[in-house]
Structure formats: C-alpha cells, structure tokens
Subunit: 368 residues, 2 copies
Amino acid sequence: MDHRGPAFSGLGHKVLTGMQSVFRTSGPVVIFPSSGTGAWEAALVNTLSPGDKVVMVETGHFASMWASMAGKLGLEAETIPTDWRRGADPAAVADRLDSDYNKSIKALCVVHNETSTGATTRVAEVRDAMNAVGHPALLMVDTISGLACADFRFDEWGVDVAISGSQKGLMLPPGLSFNAISEKALEASKTASLPRSYWAWEEMLEINKRGYFPYTPATNLLYGLAEAIEMLQEEGMDNVFARHRRHGEAARRAVAAWGLETQCVEKRDFSPVLTGVRLPDGHDADRFRATVLENFDMSLGNGLAKIAGRVFRIGHLGDFNDLMLIGTLSGIEMGLGLAGIPHQAGGVGNAMDFLKNNIKAVGRDEAA
Amino acid sequence: MDHRGPAFSGLGHKVLTGMQSVFRTSGPVVIFPSSGTGAWEAALVNTLSPGDKVVMVETGHFASMWASMAGKLGLEAETIPTDWRRGADPAAVADRLDSDYNKSIKALCVVHNETSTGATTRVAEVRDAMNAVGHPALLMVDTISGLACADFRFDEWGVDVAISGSQKGLMLPPGLSFNAISEKALEASKTASLPRSYWAWEEMLEINKRGYFPYTPATNLLYGLAEAIEMLQEEGMDNVFARHRRHGEAARRAVAAWGLETQCVEKRDFSPVLTGVRLPDGHDADRFRATVLENFDMSLGNGLAKIAGRVFRIGHLGDFNDLMLIGTLSGIEMGLGLAGIPHQAGGVGNAMDFLKNNIKAVGRDEAA
C-alpha cells in the first residue's frame, strides 16, 4: 500500500485510535518506526531540556539502560537503587521527591514490567506518592513488555508519558514503538529544548490527524498492529490480563515445586509477563540455558548485567496458552535434570494441577 | 529467533558484511530499526555539534526535508537552490565551498537519487569538486532510493556518510535504515557533541563486532535483508544497475511518444529508479492519478511540495521486470485517455520496441 495514497488513512486512523484503547487513554498516542529504545528517547527529548534532572528507579537492567540513555542525551540522570528483586517502592519515590525542595527534578521514570527480573511496579501507587508530596515532575512509564499483558491505565493512573513496543503483548515482530502522551507532557513539549526531529511529537500529531505519518511508516507492521488490536479486543482486555496472571501463578508454582527461588521476592510485584528464576549458588544459569537450547530447541531468557549467570527467565506473554506454558515448563524440568541442577521434580505436575483447577480465565479461541 | 541468543550472531554478521558489499565499502555499515528519515538524523547527530553549518543542495523535496531536519537539530542549514529539474551541480558546490574562507561548513549533503523528481546527482563529480577547492567538509549522501538500483561506490567516490533504507532497491518493507561510515566521519564522531543515544554509532559498532545489536533489532526484516542481498548478488550488481537503466530509458521513450515532458531535463542526471512526468499546463496530476487508481488499481507517485499537482511519478525500481514496466506504462496510457489529458498514443509501443531491441540486460531468473 502507498503510505501517501488515499486508502492509507483508514489504516492510520484505525491503529492510532486502537492504540488509545490499549493504553486506556483519550489523549494522543504516536507510533514510531523504531524499536522500544527509540520511544524511550522520544519521551525524553520531547519533554526535557539540556541539563534537566530526571530520576529513574533502578528496578533492573532496563531501568539502568534508560538512565544511561538520559545521560547521553545531556540530562542529569539520578537513580533510586533497589535490590533488583521488586518493583519501584512508592515510599522511596515520595522520600526523594519530598527532599527536592526547589523542584529541580523534571521527570520520575519507572518501568511497569521489568523484563530483566520479572517484577512489576504499582504505577498507581507511585502516582499517589508523587501527589502526596505535591511534586510537579512528569511521571514516565516504560511499559514495553507490560502493555497488553498486565493491567495498564494511562489516564486513570495519571501517567504523563508511556513507552511501549510492538514485540511483546502486541504479538508482533520488533519495529514499532509508541508514546502515549498526557496534556501536561504535551504542554512541557512546547518549551522543552532538547533537539529533536525524527522523534518530534508536534509534526507527528499534526499529520496523524489525517491518518498519515510525516515520514515513511513501517507499513507492514501497521497491518499486523491492526490485527493484533482486533485480537485483543475480541478476547477482551480483562481476559487478556487474567490469562497472563494465571500463567504467572502456574509458572511460580512450578518453580516452587522444583525448590528454586524466583528473582522477584515481593508478592505484590510478581510479573504476569515473565518469571525470573535463580539457580542455586555454584550453578551457571547460562550453561543450563545452553543445555535446554541444545536438547529441546527452546531459548530461555538470560540473566542481564549484574544477575548474569545467576538467573534465567521464563516468558509467558502475548499469544500464549496453557499448553504452551506446560511445554515450556517441561523443557525446564527436563533440562534441570540433564544439567545436574539440584531440584525436585513435580513442577510440571504442580502447574497442571493449578491450571485445571482454575479454568475460569478463557483463552482467545473460547471467547471468539 | 532470540536476538540475544547464540544463533543470532550468524544472521547479524551476514547482513552487516553483506551491506558493506552493497555500499561498496570496506568500512563499517550500521543498521537501525527505523525508516530512512532516522538514518538522516543519525548521520547528522553523530558527526556534528550544535551550531555547525551544513550545506544541502536542494535538488527536490527530500533534500529540502533533510535541511529542515538539520535546523530542528540545532544546526545551521544552508541550501544551494536548483530548479528541481536536475541533480546537484558540482560547479555550484565548488563555488560555495571555495567562498567559505574560514572553513565553517562542516558537511555538504546531496541526494543521490531525488525521489521527488527523478534526477540523480553525479556524486563522484561532487567529490572531485570538493577536492579541487580543498575543502574539508564531510560529504554526506542520501541514497535511500538510489542504493541497489543506481551505481553507488562509497569508498571509490570518497563519500563520508551514506544514508539508505530497506524499502527501495533492497526490496523490503520499510523499517530498516543504514549509515555507511568513512574513517573521517568516524573520527568526526569522536568530538561531535550533538546529543545522541538511539542513533549513536559508537556503541552500535562495538556490539556489531560480535554480530549483535545494542537494543532490539527489527529481526524479521533482517531475515528479509539477508535474502535481498543474496538476490542482488545472484543477479550481479552490475546487471541490477543495467536493468534499472534500461527500464528508465524505456519509460522515458514512452513519455516522449506521449508528447509529455520529464521533470528532469538534464540528460546526464536521468534517474534509473523513477521517472517524474509533467502534465500540460491546466491539467491536474492528482486528478489524473486518481483516475488511474480508480480504474486500474495502480498508485502512481504524486508531485511533492512545489511541484504538487504538476507532476506524477513512475517507479521502476527494485524487484521489477520488463512486463511489470509495460503493465505500468499501459495503465498510464489508458489513464491519459480516460482523464482527457492531451497526448499521443504509442508510448507503450515505443517502450516495447526499445525493450525487445535491447535485451542484453538479463533479469534475475535468467541469471540464476
């Protein structure tokens, strides 16, 4: 399809309004031809000026990469550290912002679902904490792996900029990224002076009104996006979230049966998207992952940065059903045996028991 | 495929070295998950500092958009105007650079194939002109629509940064963009101070050495790219260029038979990629394009910016053969009749005569 032709605007309008419903916002959503990292950059360069201070809660590797990007773009990036085993702590956010007497912090950034650990941040509670201390910083939320898997409510939770990508809950190849934008963020963009062109919201929003894009969009992925949004709406977003929560619980029950520990230790923050699992001391998670890949052709996520070699990650997101989860868990259980990792069998059985006793959440095919 | 898994580096190395052969360079090529506009931005932010002066030869709409981007990024963009009916004039480049006594111009930017008009720039002559006046500016070349259609030789022609995209000569959907980088440009990037992160060459090149990317690549398009490079190598680059030149000539013979004028008037600059055609005064090219779309389901390129409504464009690039060209030309000839545009019939016949009397250039299937 000609992305400047008359038929294109139908597709353009469809995906732009569809993404508003996925983010649960009545405000604008923009779509970039880039991977999610680009939408991080877009969030920063559209709203901030050189030297502005931003605070990232370092809940894992992706939060720390975002902070590193902010530094490269000429911002002053400060991090609130964590032990990488939980989401952002709203009380720690409140403490930091409350001590910012001259309101020099311009944005507070959290990761909705930290892909490197398997912990979520309670975004609504973070917003409440910011409001409680009356701090005007923008709330930016990376929901690259969270969106369309875990409950996310842009307007209701008072998020100012949300960042996402095509390759997780939206079930597409990588290559599209998103910003959802609040009125306050849009207002900030009018005075923000970081240089920007590719990522600039203003021209994008102007041309989006007619269903087009200011430069060549990733047309083929937009077709896929229209279909993905339809699939999500057909299943119902609440059913999608329930399906992911249920798979997370089943995966954790398998991990518990094996006698292993999850990376996330804060129950309220358990991720419905993926589960990070720690191996016992003295056992290399990457060697275990290689055993599973070699014998069962399954690529488990690796531990990143400071938990490299300690952790492997089980993804249970997107276009995923009960039988795929059990297949995944069986590859891990067999791999633990082959690799000589101390564990008890029975994880697969435990997960099956949980799934068959809790069949309330229907899958896409049943809902259709 | 897991873009951090062991199998990925094979694909990564394959496309990175393959693209070096397409650009004809022994230096590095980087691949961004973005459309071509992003690679424009990458070329500028990696090599330049705020306030630096750049000169763009405004050969058409895309050159003028690139200049506009430079301004938004905090550079001082100056343009050398043209009548939009030819490529960049090497003598005009030499004149402008020669008058830059204090060498304040940091980059000279030209478009190899101007998609909005159908004119190419003789890049080697532009480099010679720069050398003749001894000016140290970087030579940046947008070959988004030129690469893998029209002859391009990065090293031999002394280009410093080349910009391209996946959706033209590389025959893929939009979503990948490229920079080829000279040693001089790489050296400039070490002191260039425009803020950058997503587009930063340094980290990209470091991680590319191992066949990986610093953030999520557009994996599915990389598979397609590996296949596209193989197709080009199978046909042979010189055959690919000859095929495009031959189709350009056939298209222009049709235009001449119709009694219409091509937008490009400089014979040496005729594009082998596309042909821009002017309608007689008083006839609206967009109305004509609508007639063709409605009756024959063919979307012709529109005239952009200052030639809107005056010009339509015939693309004859990428995965394209003789019969597709004749089909295209027949839609135009029938459309001219239906829309009541004054013309003579016989364009299709003229193109067929030329093609069958000049069958030296073999297509891909014959070469395989």
